[in-house]
């Protein structure tokens, strides 16, 4: 029997070179990404373990992104601990508070390559599947074990085959596609499993668009979300990791999948989608949520704070003023993204429309800072989670949508299908 992407990539990181769904394997990790969890939770675990030295200072990326720059005394202390750890352990790859969101900066630094096994101390680490990697989120204890040993156990996941063919209509984005897919799967539809994405749509997608899809696969419970390599990934690798030779992995034709989902966007056009509170899998066509009033519009996060996202927002807003009753907060995913948007004039356009541009951080998405919701407030957001209280007060609500839908909605002051502006 052939192997899926998950089986192949995990297998190539085991001693025997093979992995089959259902078995528990010990794997060697190519890269570990940790953020503030290092200072707050991992270091105490390392102390308890009697830790001495990192297994490989070249294979760890430390990012201060969630509360960047520090929003209070505690986050400041966490950042201080991270900086000290980086120095003491001679960690090669470090992004301090000026850099951006981990899932954006890791690929920008050329730290993911096709076929890699990457672990992050963050559930959205599935994002690197866009680069043909097996990548997943673990937490403090597992991260501590990787920091000391470089290896970790996994139960090899079964895989679900998702095939998407056809083209997006104007103002329909990859965010709409993943909101549709996870609505079909439900909140645990891919729990413990690997969501493997295929089809002409995925093959032709830009890197940033692919990252959005892989990023939100975890909202259906997916352990990983690998895609085949494409020409945009190859180009990205040439620009960001020119020294690495590429060895893309493809699943075998006779690989076994537990389920298959097929979408044909030409036959069955995809509409802009909105995930209504309180779960990311509550996606409905934007027309059904249209008219919903809100207090805050937000564009940013590891899901949709990239250059294409700022570009479409700037195009839709085009200098027109946002609705007087709302605020629009825009948080570019990284400093690089921010600079690109500046150079292309998008930041000016967005600010002329009334947007507040913040530095790059996870801030508002985690209810941390720079856009926290008050009691009873409603936000339409390009982020990934709309759980109760996710962006602030327990009685606040979040509607998830694409940057195009958020921008269109910001103009009208109510949820608006961007095609109907």
């Amino acid at each position: 029997m052939g192997a899926t992407l998950a089986e192949k990539i995990l297998g190539s990181h085991t001693e025997k070179g093979k992995a089959t769904a259902g078995e528990i394997v010990e794997t060697s990790v190519d890269l570990l990404m940790v953020h503030e969890v290092l200072g707050s939770r991992i270091l105490p675990v390392l102390d308890e373990m009697g830790f001495d030295k990192v297994w490989d200072p070249d294979r760890i990326l430390v990012v201060n992104d969630h509360w960047a720059p520090a929003s209070d005394v505690n986050s400041s202390e966490i950042h201080r601990r991270n900086r000290q750890f980086v120095k003491e352990q001679n960690i090669t790859h470090f992004c301090d508070v000026d850099c951006g969101i981990c899932h954006q900066v890791l690929p920008e630094m050329g730290l993911v390559s096709p076929g890699d096994l990457i672990v992050g101390s963050d559930s959205h680490s599935t994002t690197y599947g866009a680069f043909n990697a097996f990548s997943t989120g673990l937490a403090a204890t597992d991260s501590a074990l990787i920091i000391s040993t470089g290896s970790i156990w996994f139960r090899v996941p079964e895989s679900i085959y998702v095939k998407i063919d056809g083209k997006f209509a104007e103002y329909v984005m990859s965010k709409d596609l993943i909101l549709k897919i996870i609505a079909d799967l439900g909140p645990d539809g891919a729990n413990y499993q690997s969501l493997e994405f295929h089809g002409s749509t995925i093959d032709s997608m830009l890197v940033g668009e692919r990252m959005t899809v892989c990023n939100m696969a975890v909202e259906a419970g997916a352990k990983s979300a690998p895609m085949n390599c494409n020409k945009h990934v190859e180009k990205w690798m040439k620009e960001h990791a020119p020294s690495r030779s590429l060895s893309p992995v493809e699943p075998d034709p006779d690989a076994e999948y537990v389920e298959t989902f097929e979408y044909n966007l030409d036959k069955d056009p995809l509409e802009p989608m909105v995930a209504v509170p309180d779960n990311p899998t509550n996606g409905v066509p934007a027309s059904e949520a249209a008219g919903t009033k809100f207090d805050q519009a937000f564009i940013g996060s590891c899901t949709n704070g990239r250059i294409q996202d700022l570009e479409i927002a700037a195009k839709i807003l085009g200098g027109q003023k946002i609705h007087k009753d709302i605020r629009l907060i825009i948080t570019p995913a990284s400093k690089t993204t921010y600079m690109q948007a500046l150079e292309r004039g998008h930041i000016k356009t967005l600010m002329q429309s009334g947007a507040i541009i913040t530095n790059s951080t996870c801030g508002a998405c985690v209810g941390g800072h720079l856009g926290v919701l008050g009691a009873g407030e409603v936000c339409v957001s390009s982020t990934n989670r709309n759980f109760p209280g996710r962006m602030g007060h327990r009685d606040s609500k979040v509607y998830l949508a694409s940057p195009a839908t958020v921008a269109a909605s910001a103009l009208r002051g109510e949820i608006t299908d961007p095609r109907r502006l």
């Binding site: 969890v37 963050d122 937490a139 204890t141 000391s148 729990n191 941390g368 209280g389």
Partner: protein
């Protein structure tokens, strides 16, 4: 299973898809002491939980408990408050792993949410994998723990297991 043989505690019944933000919101994650953080545990679905929970109480949930973030703070704050076990119809993968890593037992018991009411007194037998509702007298059979997860739990969590293996 040592200390994990049997516990008796009251049930706190929650629904499906209790995500990690409901267990502990992102805004509390910068708190550096679990004791301090635990005061905010399950604040969204059960504001009365942190002040009312007693040692060995049992959380009973439906499907997909612990979905969302990878934050280990979620099982940690529940353990900090003395929760003896979480019983659910299913767990989200990262939460499941985190629970065992920090030494908090999790048990899969099909049909549990329709057989337990809030406040019922429960007996959990980890060796047999059973849950008995002392108030109704009904006993439910849970799924046996995978041997690898049992090994982690019996070691006292992933860090203790690591230390033992290292010796």
């Amino acid at each position: 299973m040592g200390a994990f043989e049997k516990i008796v505690g009251r049930a706190w019944v929650l629904g499906d898809n209790i995500d990690t933000d409901q267990i502990i919101q992102g805004r509390y994650l910068t708190l550096l002491s679990y004791e301090e953080m635990a005061k905010h545990a399950l604040k969204i679905p059960r504001p009365d939980f942190a002040s009312g929970v007693k040692k060995n109480d049992v959380i009973v949930a439906g499907r997909n408990f612990g979905s969302g973030s990878s934050r280990e703070e979620a099982p940690q704050v529940l353990k900090e408050l003395g929760v003896g076990c979480i019983v659910a119809e299913s767990f989200s993968r990262i939460f499941y792993r985190n629970g065992f890593n920090v030494g908090l037992p999790l048990m899969l018991v099909p049909g549990v949410s329709s057989n337990v009411e809030d406040g019922n007194l429960l007996t959990i037998d980890f060796t047999k994998g059973t849950l008995t509702n002392n108030d109704s007298g009904k006993m439910l059979q849970g799924e046996p723990l995978p041997s690898f997860m049992r090994e982690i739990l019996e070691s006292g969590g992933a860090v203790s297991r690591y230390k033992k293996l290292k010796k």
